[in-house]
């Protein structure tokens, strides 16, 4: 199941400036990374790079290394191009209308807050983990959570493979977001209780998702009044 596009129009602004900018910045960093990480780089040099730019819970708890700076830098970096594409695809699908409800700059602060909340939950739950984490998915789960709160009845054009036959129905956003949330829970619990490692930051996803509650601090006045009045935001 691959969400492709939000089919509903914007209400307040025409152009999703910040969503596009975030996608462009993440893409630029991912494309520029190979220039920095040359082919000749040793394992140790790559490890050094990760220790400087990726979010490592064990270092955070020990108050060593770059601290919060790694929380910010890791939010704009990705493991590989597929990681980037999936995250930016989700940001495009869910970010546009959340940005519309907030305004560009408030959306940026919310995005950062969701990413930092994801880091915080990861550090709290996986406090002993020496594995560095990277990716915008915590922040993007925050954006998805905000989408679920603001537009539960929104329709998302989604690519679904029925055996080998592709179909792209418009599915209710609520179901899609809950599906992506649901597939996090069991692996997250497994990581917590049996030290399993999937190479995916499931707790960051959950932390980001629940930080969506902060979206109400960032909504533009009219969007907030509409939400309170139980009318479409």
């Amino acid at each position: 199941m691959l969400p492709i596009n939000d089919t509903e129009p914007n209400r307040y602004s025409g152009f999703p400036f910040m969503t596009i900018s975030l996608i462009a910045l993440n893409t630029f960093i991912e494309l520029a990374k190979p220039l920095y990480l040359q082919n000749t780089m040793t394992n140790w040099q790559y490890w050094e790079f990760m220790m400087h730019f990726y979010f490592t819970p064990k270092l955070i708890l020990a108050a060593e290394g770059p601290g919060i700076l790694s929380g910010i830098t890791s939010m704009f970096m990705h493991g590989d191009i597929f990681h980037l594409l999936s995250n930016m695809g989700a940001l495009w699908v869910f970010g546009r209308r959340v940005e519309d409800a907030c305004g560009a700059w408030r959306f940026l602060v919310f995005y950062l807050l969701a990413g930092i909340s994801a880091d915080l939950i990861t550090a709290l739950v996986m406090y002993n983990s020496p594995t560095p984490g990277v990716g915008a998915s915590g922040a993007i789960f925050g954006v998805m959570g905000a989408y679920l709160l603001l537009y539960p009845a929104g329709r998302i054009r989604t690519l679904v493979m029925l055996s080998f036959v592709p179909a792209w129905p418009r599915i209710r956003a609520g179901w899609i977001v809950l599906y992506f949330l649901g597939i996090q829970i069991i692996p997250a619990l497994n990581m917590l209780f049996s030290d399993a490692n999937y190479g995916v930051g499931h707790w960051a996803h959950l932390g980001g998702f629940f930080s969506a509650l902060f979206i109400f601090l960032f909504l533009r006045p009219e969007a907030f009044a509409r939400y309170l009045s139980e009318t479409p935001v």
């Binding site: 601290g67 929380g71 960032f218 907030f224």
Partner: protein
């Protein structure tokens, strides 16, 4: 012909009972010789509206303050003027009561029509003008109403304040529409946008007004609740300090007791104040900050003031973040990179 000759003719006309001719001639005399006491004295009896006769008396007294006869006459005229005014007010009181009951019963258009009838006959009824200012959507009408009020009662400070506000809104009509929206008065905002759309000079202005009209009509149909501006400012000021607190908490290893960094916590009030300023500058609502700090009587702030406040707020938010980044940088200087855990 000189003024003495005209005065002679005017006196002749007055004595032979040709009052209108005499009045015109005396007026010609005072135009040529503004300090002619005799001409002014005659005019105190010949001018028609009571206010003009009072003005003529005052003029005579300014030329000759010892003219006791005119002083006594002026006192009499002033009493007459007061009584006449009171009589007019009493007469209009009844109509104003009727207008009030129209307003209470939601019959706004009838109230406005009756008000316009009263005000057509040079009203001195403050309350009538005030109701007119409240009921009318046109900013020009509001200005006219408050001008009339301050003319009737120059000591009315609230009317002066309202007059200054509406003169400001005359120059910035969109601000008034935004003000109505903040107050939750969508009907008035909608009417004002309609008036502005009708007066729009070009298609882009019209389109802007039209968009606002559609937006407000939707809000009315959907019964969108009104949220007080103070709550909006409070709500929107919380986000940035919250982000900063989480950042500092992470920087301190989630344990402020074990890894204290008090200097970073000092940044919280700065970020909170900066966030507040950014919010006040970003959402166009009336706020005391514009009055107290910038002497802006309307309390809405001009674009320049807003930009200034926004830049100040941004600096206040960014400075503690720069310290945070500096703290991270210093930590990196002494950072011993741990061994790769999966290579033993």
């Amino acid at each position: 012909m000189n003024s003495a000759e005209i005065l002679r003719q005017a006196l002749q006309a007055a004595r032979s009972g040709r009052e209108l001719t005499a009045r015109d001639l005396f007026q010609d005399v005072v135009r040529m010789d503004p300090n002619n006491e005799v001409a002014w004295m005659w005019l105190t009896g010949l001018l028609d509206p009571l206010e003009d006769r009072i003005a003529a008396c005052e003029r005579v007294l300014s030329i000759n303050p010892r003219n006791q006869k005119i002083r006594a006459y002026l006192d009499k005229l002033l009493e007459e003027y007061k009584a006449e005014r009171q009589w007019k007010i009493n007469e209009q009181d009844e109509k104003v009561q009727q207008i009030r009951s129209f307003i209470e019963n939601g019959r706004r258009n009838e109230a406005l029509l009756l008000l316009q009838n009263i005000l057509r006959e040079e009203s001195v009824h403050k309350e009538a003008w005030r109701l007119f200012a409240d009921l009318s959507v046109s900013i020009n009408d509001k200005v006219r109403a408050y001008e009339a009020i301050v003319q009737v009662d120059p000591a009315d400070a609230s009317a002066w304040q309202a007059l200054r506000r509406y003169r400001y809104f005359q120059r910035n009509p969109l601000e008034l529409a935004a003000h109505y929206e903040e107050e939750g008065d969508l009907d008035k905002a909608l009417e004002l946008y309609e008036v502005l759309a009708a007066e729009a000079g070009n298609s882009s202005k019209f389109e802007h007004m039209y968009k606002n009209i559609v937006r407000l009509e939707d809000a009315k149909i959907e019964n969108v609740r009104h949220v007080k501006p103070a709550f909006t400012i409070l709500r929107m000021s919380v986000g940035l300090p919250l982000l900063y607190v989480l950042e500092v908490f992470i920087q301190e290893g989630l344990n402020p007791i074990r890894h204290p960094a008090p200097a970073l916590w000092l940044g919280i009030p700065l970020v909170a104040l900066g966030s507040f300023l950014l919010t006040v500058a970003g959402v166009r609502v009336r706020h005391a900050i514009w009055r107290r700090w910038f002497g802006d009587r309307e309390g809405r702030g001009s674009d320049v003031m807003r930009a200034l406040v926004a830049v100040t707020g941004l600096m206040m938010v960014l400075t503690p973040h720069l310290f945070l980044a500096w703290d991270s940088y210093l930590r990196l200087q002494t950072f011993q990179i741990p061994a790769i855990p999966w290579i033993r």
